[in-house]
Amino acid sequence: MDNQPDNATPDRSALEALLATVALGEATDEQLDQLNDILLRDEKARELTCDFMAGEAVLQRHFQLVDRVATLHGSAHELQDAADLEDGPTDHRSSLRTGPWNLSPKTRGLFWSVGVAACLLLALFVWNGDDDAPQPSDKEVAANESAASQQVGTLVVGVPPQEVLASLEKHRKPVRVGDTISTDDKITFLHFDCGVDVLLMGPAELSVVSPMRAELSKGTLTARVAESAHGFRIDTPNSKVTDLGTEFGVSVDDSGVTDTVVFSGKVAMEYRQLPTAEESRSTIPLHKPSRSQLLTEGNALRVTQEGLAERIVSVTRSDYPLPGTTPAILPDAGPVIRDVWDNLSTRDTSKAYQIVHNGFREDAGAFVDRKYQWNGISAKYGLPRVLRGGDYVMPFCDDKVQDRIQVTVDLARPARLFVLLDNRLSIPGWLRSEFTDTGYDVGIDEDAFSVERSWQQLGEGPGVSLERSCSVWYVDVPNPHPVVLGALDPPIHWRVMYGIVAVPLEEALSTRDEPVANHQPKIGSGLIHRGLLPEPATICEIERGMQYGELMMGLPTANDFGAVKNGLLFRAETLDGLLLPHPDTTVLEGNVAPALNDGLLADSYDDLKHNFWYNGQGRFSIDLKQSTKLQSIRTYSVHWLDRSFQNFTVWGSQSEKMPPVDFETAAGAKGWELIGIVNTDVLDPGGLHASVLSAGEEGIGPYRHLLWVLEYADRSTFLTEIDIFELGTAPARPMP
């Protein structure tokens, strides 16, 4: 059957589509018959099918794990609670007997989906319910029985959170299962041996139920959970918060209302209505229906007495100091930002703004739903002095796409309120009319948020590995009142939400102004923006495709005015060795870069032969040999991911002798005119990126010299061809 002629082999793409239809449960009988026919006769199809279906199994396991851990705990503990009511307090033998074999087949499957991977204890819990399975050994039973007196952690009282880890040896007291920690101390540190650090903010009461579980009856705690302790759980009167690898905070008030905030990672949350007084006295097990929800980074949820989940609009970080961190010291005069809220509903988002008092400093977290950080643009000058130590709000980066959002900042004192706006955005009307541009910029350091930005890494301190710059706008508010901020214009992906900082007005007025140049990015730094550049002579159009033939702006050509066959050469401008092309790229004598205009195109997404590239900044020029009026400049780049992005400026000079090329500011670009600004970062990464600079019928220039200034990137553009067209010579664009 495997010896069918080649033309019987199904097309891979068609087979993938068929398998996807089957996986989605949408296949008709005819399609299943077709698939079976293919698989009977074709070995390659069987291999592809095995790979595809194995992938389905992995995806099913992965995506069910997160949601189902919450369900697992709910189901297991409902049984446990019922057993407790029937048999008295926790008996490890009886809980071992109450295995999942009493559950529905679906739930048993669930145990196998997640339970086996959870921990050894749980595995025994599962196995020993089977009559045919071996019973636990005496040693195992004894181990469980002795758990009640087993030390599971260490307690340290009255030590500042940042010093607590160092104080463990000196001040520690053992904590055992069954212990209840009731404290009025401001800070109590509890370390669970499984790998969980907990800070308890008194007055609070916490009972240790097991090595991996504790009950918080009142007060606030924060937890940092190591990978070894995923599955660690905090119970409150109406909620169960199960860690899935995270930093989180839980707060319980006197009425049992529970607030949960996730600072990093995610937690599974199960919650229900509190029992009434009658129900609490009843000896009959009563199980109110529970709900489950996954909370991710930046999410916060309040569970009311009625068991209803409500969005928490804002939290104050100083209420939730994390283990090992230095708590913010509030000024005597009190905070500047009292509160922040928006016009979104629980349906729109479950994220909470975080107010950080006195927290605006280098590497301060920028958004609740990203690990981005604020930093000064310049390593030498850092953040502008006026901003340092200010109160600030961590908003949701995803709010950038909320077109009707209104964020209200309630100021407690006379203040200078700052808005930090992504420089890639146009300036919204509400900002332009009410606020003033300081001229300062600040940077954002981004982590590898997604595959589109998978190469990014967080750096430390100012001026290090910054990806974005934001302009700093301010308004003085002498009479404290709520200030309403609007939406971005237009709301857009691939940009960031604005930041909000406030400082006491008297401090802002007494802070000496700094030269704005100290806080503005340089040309070539990777952060340059239109606000720091003159108006360019051209408009820029950009495009992305997977094949050259897809491009609406036309194919690259070896017959353009700037082609090597016309005797024109691109030369790398090394600035005395400061800016060197990548050692693997071809550079000829005289720093000639032939790949840029030889008409030979990259024929793969990783073509090292037909591309010219840098790591970091780069500059190169071309001498047109005579002053020439241009029609357009097209630039093509090809890479399978990040090196396809184009981010550069093009400059032109009419002088016979090329002016200096080592300028860092627009004012310093003596003898040069800005022709165009190219940035393709709004396109998806990978494939073919293309840009064209043009200025209509009058053309561009005339220019004798052209200069490209590539903005800094760790992994800079794979440039495969640059086509320069004299006025009237550019080929017509293909018809759509």
């Binding site: 993938e16 996807a20 239809t21 089957v22 996986a23 989605l24 449960g25 949408e26 296949a27 009988d29 299943l32 698939l35 079976n36 698989l39 009977l40 070995e43 069987r46 291999e47 095995c50 790979d51 595809f52 279906m53 194995a54 992938g55 199994a57 992995v58 995806l59 099913q60 396991r61 992965h62 995506f63 069910q64 997160v66 949601d67 189902r68 087949p105 048993r108 499957g109 196998w112 086996v116 991977a117 050894l120 595995a123 196995w127 089977d130 045919d132 399975a133 050994s137 040693k139 195992e140 948020f449 997604s450 595959v451 693997d584 990783d606 090292l608 590239w613 790591n615 760790d714 992994r715």
Partner: protein
């Protein structure tokens, strides 16, 4: 000539893929008699749940059936724990048991319509058993590739898999048409396959 800055990709490439045999042996070496053997067995069974589920899913092509057979396989493996030679590799032995459970399932449900015909199931089982080491590597690569997915695509898969929603339900929930959901699902799966191949290719180069 290599890809510039390849190290940044190598850091996130597969770790330990292809060392399954050694891991098993290490576990075997650590295991003694009595309760330690139980611990070792549970550890092996736990570590290979993904491989077993992938093998069964490859053979049956249906998720609910796969869970049923996986459960039966786990029970069977546990019952055979005492005859397991801890010096031998665990996975081939476990796959052998799983094969038997797949066949038993097909016999028991012979009157039902399945994704694959009994003949095709047998053929697929052979391929899946032969490809177990490769599938194991692909599974690990896939776990890394999931992390690389854009958040919106991960959310889409979360709705699809975690909540076991039908295509129609996913379409309603995400504001797309049914055809758009199908198309997006296929695009994501292809992107993941491409990512797996890329990661494995990089791993081969290292």
């Amino acid at each position: 000539m290599g890809i510039p800055n390849q190290a940044s990709y190598a850091e996130s490439s597969l770790d330990g893929c292809g060392t399954e045999q050694m891991d098993d042996k290490q576990i075997s070496d650590a295991g003694g008699g009595g309760n330690e053997s139980v611990d070792v067995f549970i550890r092996l069974l736990t570590d290979h749940q993904v491989d077993l589920q992938a093998f069964i899913m490859s053979s049956l092509g249906n998720h609910p059936d796969t869970l049923d057979v996986l459960q039966a396989t786990n029970i069977a493996l546990w019952k055979k724990a005492t005859v397991f030679d801890s010096k031998a590799p665990f996975l081939p032995w476990a796959i052998g048991v799983a094969k038997y459970e797949v066949l038993a399932f097909m016999r028991k449900r012979r009157r039902d319509r399945h994704t694959f015909s009994p003949e095709v199931v047998e053929l697929l089982m052979d391929v899946a058993a032969q490809r177990t080491p490769e599938t194991s590597c692909r599974s690990r690569a896939l776990m890394e590739c999931i992390k690389e997915l854009p958040e919106r695509n991960r959310e889409f898969l979360q709705i699809r898999y975690a909540q076991q929603q039908s295509v129609q339900q996913v379409a309603t929930k995400t504001g797309r048409t049914v055809d758009a959901v199908k198309s997006l699902f296929l695009r994501i799966r292809r992107a993941l396959e491409h990512c797996i191949d890329r990661r494995l290719a990089i791993d081969d180069q290292l």
